[in-house]
């Protein structure tokens, strides 16, 4: 932890991540306004004490909407990454433990999923089944599984010949027990780093799909829909689109810096790669 905060980039990342998480968790209490409350007389208000970041085309308070957008972004990214991490790790461990032919099969499946242009296929799925958070989470989770699977498998393989596992086996511990209480804690580090590096990627996908109207449904505030609203009314006011774009940029940057600091702290050799 101390090593993570050793660089200015790590501190900045941790601050932004902390702020986004707080906003996501406590949006209803922090937000000064209801994010969907209309105030048409106040539309396109500038920065002021009443509206810290101004208002949008319907007079909704942008600051409140951004805070609620954090809830959506974090909900989608943390759920999908959790699902992908769990199933990917399970598959990766499985791949390392089954006969070679099965292992090859799993690896080929990983390769194929990983080399799909996932966003474009997500478009097709969303178009047929309709936009919803659950579909979004499902698609993103599936596309991320191979990355976790590969890392988990590689980690398990490096542990195969380690003496303390050998000792456990000789003592008669069951394979499940070895996996659960000895292998898993030892491979968790790189997997957690990978999970944190995927957060900005998923935030980008969610915002991108919401931007084109295929993510979360209005009036729910997502950063992507906020940017789209601002973009549509660009000729009236440049403030909303600017505020929403910069907020999304700051969030993805913060999570990237955080992930990289975490990686460098866990494995100092990795360096900037």
């Amino acid at each position: 932890m101390r090593r993570m905060l050793a660089t200015p980039a790590g501190v900045l990342g941790a601050l932004i991540v902390g702020a986004v998480l707080l906003a996501a968790q406590f949006a209803p209490w922090i937000a000064p306004y209801d994010p969907d409350a209309l105030a048409v007389l106040d539309r396109f208000a500038g920065l002021s004490r009443a509206h810290l970041l101004g208002t949008d085309q319907l007079g909704r308070d942008l600051y409140s909407r951004l805070l609620h957008g954090a809830t959506v972004a974090m909900g989608v990214s943390l759920t999908s990454i959790a699902i992908a991490a769990l199933s990917g790790t399970a598959l990766g461990i499985l791949a390392a433990s089954v006969p070679a032919a099965w292992e090859r099969l799993i690896l080929v499946a990983f390769d194929i999923i990983a080399s799909f242009p996932s966003i474009v296929l997500a478009l097709a799925v969303v178009a047929v089944f309709g936009p919803s958070n659950a579909h979004l989470v499902g698609i993103v989770a599936v596309t991320l599984v191979p990355q976790f699977g590969r890392v988990a498998r590689a980690q398990v393989l490096t542990l195969r010949a380690v003496p303390f596992l050998e000792a456990e086996r000789i003592l008669g511990a069951s394979p499940l027990r070895i996996m659960w209480s000895h292998v898993l804690p030892n491979i968790a580090g790189p997997l957690i780093v990978l999970a944190s590096m995927e957060v900005p990627v998923v935030i980008t996908i969610e915002a991108g799909l919401s931007f084109i109207g295929l993510g979360v449904r209005p009036p729910l505030a997502s950063w992507g829909t906020l940017i789209y609203d601002g973009y549509s009314y660009l000729s009236d006011s440049t403030l909303p689109v600017l505020v929403a774009s910069l907020a999304l940029a700051a969030a993805t940057l913060g999570f990237t810096l955080f992930g990289e600091a975490l990686r460098d702290a866990v494995d100092p050799r990795a360096g900037r790669g």
Binding site: A9, V108, D111, I112, A114, S115, F116, P117, S118, I119, V120, L121, L123, A124, V125, V126, A127, V128, F129, P200, T204, A207, G208, F211, I212, L214, I227, Y231, L234, T238, V241, L242, S245, L246, L248, A249, T252, L253, F255, T256, L257, E260, G271, R272, G273
Partner: protein, 313 residues
């Protein structure tokens, strides 16, 4: 030879997998497929035409067979709205997307490789640190956000560049000007990414014994970096470029939308909005083909540059 075969097989599997998924969507869709794929506002005769066109009244295995054989002969079906061939609709907009993607990759390589070399020859210097910071920012910020910010700065506030659309067909200079901002928006993330990869790879290569030998012979530093080290340092970035083309195409969809450019992105979105499934299916398939083809090309190039790979596979 084995390398070539295994790459070809993987590519075929990817394309077949994508086709299967696109086909499965028409089967798995809940309720009456025609109603679900066309939306409630479709008229009965329109729905009937759609059912006949897609062969939705046939058993699944026959539909699957028809779908695969038609696609393999280049027949992507008929646009249910306009009655045009889907392949013609795609052919009309494909050049815009291909040009945008190609210029973006070109710019990313053109800027990223020299910047990476620059940083690698001065590790730990101010230049290196500034480049590292800028790279992270460029990688982290989504390309459609960069597109919007560029649009704001260069066309709304400064009014330097025309941005919307592609320009008149007969005016190449105008078309090129309108290509600038989308290209920059799409490529800056890759500039940062490539610069970082080249820097890391270059540092590794520069520590190799053969570089020390070259230095001991008294060859100029520039020759060593550009002639001996760069070739090997290009391998990791090249591998990433293959996978990157998929993300680049995904990003292109959004960037095209921001700049109101015609292209595959626009086509896919319009198809989704009017529930024109054959067009959506065809366009997605073309993206997958482009992507799989690019990956194959990169893999083969990779084998050509690094003979060790061919033997290992």
């Amino acid at each position: 030879m084995r390398y070539l075969l295994s790459r070809l097989l993987t590519t075929a599997l990817i394309v077949a997998g994508a086709m299967l998924l696109l086909f499965a969507l028409t089967v798995l869709v809940p309720g009456d497929p025609a109603a679900a794929l066309l939306g409630p506002q479709a008229s009965p005769e329109y729905a009937a035409r759609f059912v006949a066109e897609m062969g939705l009244d046939q058993p699944v295995h026959i539909r699957l067979w028809r779908f695969f054989t038609h696609v393999l002969t280049g027949d992507l079906g008929t646009d249910v709205v306009s009655g045009r061939k889907v392949s013609a609709a795609i052919g009309a907009v494909l050049p815009y997307t291909v040009v945008l993607t190609a210029t973006s990759i070109g710019l990313a390589v053109l800027l990223g490789v020299p910047l990476g070399c620059l940083a690698a020859t001065r590790p730990g210097s101010l230049t290196d640190n500034v480049l590292a910071g800028v790279s992270v920012a460029l990688i982290a910020i989504p390309s459609f956000v960069i597109a919007i910010l560029l649009l704001l700065v260069f066309s709304v506030w400064l009014d330097w560049l025309p941005v919307l659309g592609t320009g008149r067909g007969d005016d190449l200079a105008d078309q090129a000007r309108r290509l600038i901002l989308p290209t920059v928006a799409l490529s800056v993330g890759w500039v940062g990414y490539i610069a970082r990869l080249v820097r890391t790879a270059m540092l590794e290569v520069l520590a190799e014994p053969y570089i020390r030998t070259a230095r001991a012979y008294g060859l100029p530093r520039g020759t060593i970096v550009l002639k001996y080290a760069l070739k090997n340092a290009c391998i990791p970035p090249l591998a990433v470029l293959g996978l990157g083309i998929g993300r680049l195409l995904g990003g292109a969809v959004l960037v095209e939308l921001v700049f109101s450019r015609p292209g595959l992105g626009r086509l896919v979105l319009d198809a989704i909005n009017v529930r024109n499934y054959p067009v959506l299916q065809g366009a997605v398939l073309v993206v997958v083909l482009l992507f799989a083809g690019a990956n194959l090309a990169v893999d083969l190039l990779y084998g050509a540059i690094d003979p060790r790979l061919r033997r290992r596979a």
